[in-house]
Symmetry: C2
Subunit: 341 residues, 2 copies
DNA sequence: GTGAAAGCGCTAACAT
DNA sequence: ATGTTAGCGCTTTCAC
């Protein structure tokens, strides 16, 4: 970087540094004439204000941090895009950091953002211990925390309504007449104790008087996992007529399992995914799935963050982001089902 | 942010600011005892060094910029991930900015990065006028420019070998006995004058003595575009036996077109994609396609960038990133072809 | 309307 | 081994 400073501009324009500063920031009175002179000098020297130096005095960096599990995951990258667009419109640059959902890495990412003095942080965190998150929030503000409930004055909560997503999916297949319903769920792990989606499924089943006995098949939440779990479900429940999957990757694996075992989707079995990943519209049959507008999520997250940044006292109520069911072709009415209700 | 500074730590530990600095940066002699004392004070106060302030004096921000077309595009997000991982290992944070391949936005992104005083920039740029890029490079260094040839001492060139990718694809289907070969290409536009992939295809055809007359069908480089172009190709060349597509999205659209018109892939027609996007392994049939290791690309790009950052004098020779053909199931030997050669 | 002085938080260079 | 001085590039405050 060529080291042209405000001093150089001042000399070139024959004014003081302050005058240059005034010309740049358009505040404080300055005669149009000198302003033009300064601007010309800036142009000629190719001067770019040093934001770092500015932030030393303004205590604002015009920078925000986004911490995600993995930017290569389309879910996060869409959120990132929405966030960046709005941030950019407001003159903010954004740092992005990946955690792979590892507690230590999450902690480290937070510290780095703080060291960079970002003006605010949008955080996806599953693994970092609550007390550490709170300890951090005690020294930093504001944080927009997504899909996790940690109460703290410096943390603004925002969550996608997964429960409602499952409810919509369930209602959709229920209304199509399905009664023998299964679910492909993830395996419960250390850092993943309670799946809101699984619990929502259980609640829906219970509410309709359906037993969940032998209806829930856990596996890795991947294509292969979905494939294996579907095979298991098919074996245990040959008559299953509709399956709700934890996510689209599992659903696509399930599609594959159906194909291999000679079942037609949705002819023999209806399948519903969750997430609406890019592939979902391209598989055969195109997948019906519950979706969040991820770009919108990113947008909403920064907008709140920006408000929080601009008002130290502000505290926002937790915000719920709705889901919608994207109806494609993997669900149809139950074939020869006797409607019980 | 709680404003605890090096001064506070110094007071707490009963030493000078400089001593605190020494304890933090582990350089310059310092007695283990005082160092421990300082570290304790840091711990107690929850002090985080202000990187902005540090960079004012070191003239280094520990920050790099990545400018891509669209982070929501899996291609770029994978590159980003590779880049971030390596950058992170070296203590660098990364700013990411999207351009949507718009010249003005690209220019703006560059200026913003410069204003943030990032230590280096990895740039994907198609649209920015060459003279503007050069003008920028005159004031900023280093830049790693990917997939575009602009010669400048401050710009290090890095390009994926698309020509070789097409060559491999072509050779693959040629060796499988195909002779009636078509291509689905993008439409030539303002900012997109010469497709290296299309030119490579033409070259391969010519070299084998094949005419390109009525064999190249342009469309939007999307799923729908591929679908439409394939329909057109099928109409013009009912006997086409293999098709090379500009990218996987077009290839998947082509798959769909084949399905609709009752052609089996690869039974009747072999199809080759380009890019190896995530979906490609999941469609039916799984797509044979030319791939770059995108994570690797990001990795290699930062590694060069870091070298350049650490040596003002260094200048690196242009670097070519190889492609590999990922052989899946959309290509098979030509059915009833008379081998001419 | 413009300039001079002070200082943001830190480290490099030079004392001690 | 530790402290003191100066200054990075900018804006804020207060003179003029």
């Amino acid at each position: 970087m060529k080291g042209v400073t405000i001093e150089d501009v001042a000399r070139e324009a024959g004014v003081s540094r302050q005058t240059v500063s005034r010309a740049i920031n358009d505040k404080g009175e300055i005669s149009p004439k000198t302003k033009a002179k300064v601007l010309a000098a800036i142009q000629q020297l190719g001067y770019t204000p040093n934001l770092q130096a500015r932030s030393m005095v303004t205590q604002r960096t015009s920078t925000i941090g986004l911490i995600v599990g993995d930017i290569a995951n389309p879910y996060f990258s869409s959120v990132a895009r929405g966030l960046q667009d709005i941030a950019g419109q407001h003159g903010y640059s954004v740092f992005i950091s990946n955690t792979d959902e590892n507690a230590d890495v999450e902690h480290q990412a937070l510290k780095t953002m703080a060291a960079q003095r970002v003006d605010g942080i949008v955080l996806f965190s599953h693994e970092l211990a609550e007390e550490k998150l709170i300890a951090f929030a005690n020294t930093y503000r504001p944080i927009v925390l997504i899909n996790r409930a940690v109460t703290h004055p410096n943390i603004h909560l925002m969550a996608v309504d997964h429960v409602d997503g499952i409810r919509q999916s369930f209602t959709h297949i229920w209304d199509a007449g399905h009664r023998n319903i299964g679910m492909l769920s993830p395996v419960q792990s250390e850092g993943f104790k309670n799946s809101r989606r699984l619990n929502a499924f259980k609640a829906e089943m219970k509410q309709r008087g359906l037993s969940i006995e032998n209806k829930i098949f856990p596996a890795q939440s991947t294509f292969d996992g979905g494939h294996a779990a579907m095979l298991a479900l098919l074996k245990a429940q040959p008559d299953v007529s509709a399956v709700i999957c934890y996510n689209d990757r599992m659903a696509i694996g399930a599609l594959q399992a159906c194909r291999e075992t000679g079942r037609s989707v949705p002819g023999d079995i209806s399948i519903v995914g969750f997430d609406n990943i890019r592939v979902s519209g391209m598989v055969t049959p195109p997948l019906t799935t519950a979706a969040v507008d991820r770009y919108e999520l990113g947008r909403v997250a920064v907008e709140s963050l920006l408000k929080l940044i601009n008002d130290d006292e502000l505290s926002l109520a937790p915000r719920v982001i709705p889901m919608q069911l994207v109806e494609r072709e993997s669900v149809t009415v139950a074939p020869t089902q006797v409607l019980v209700n």
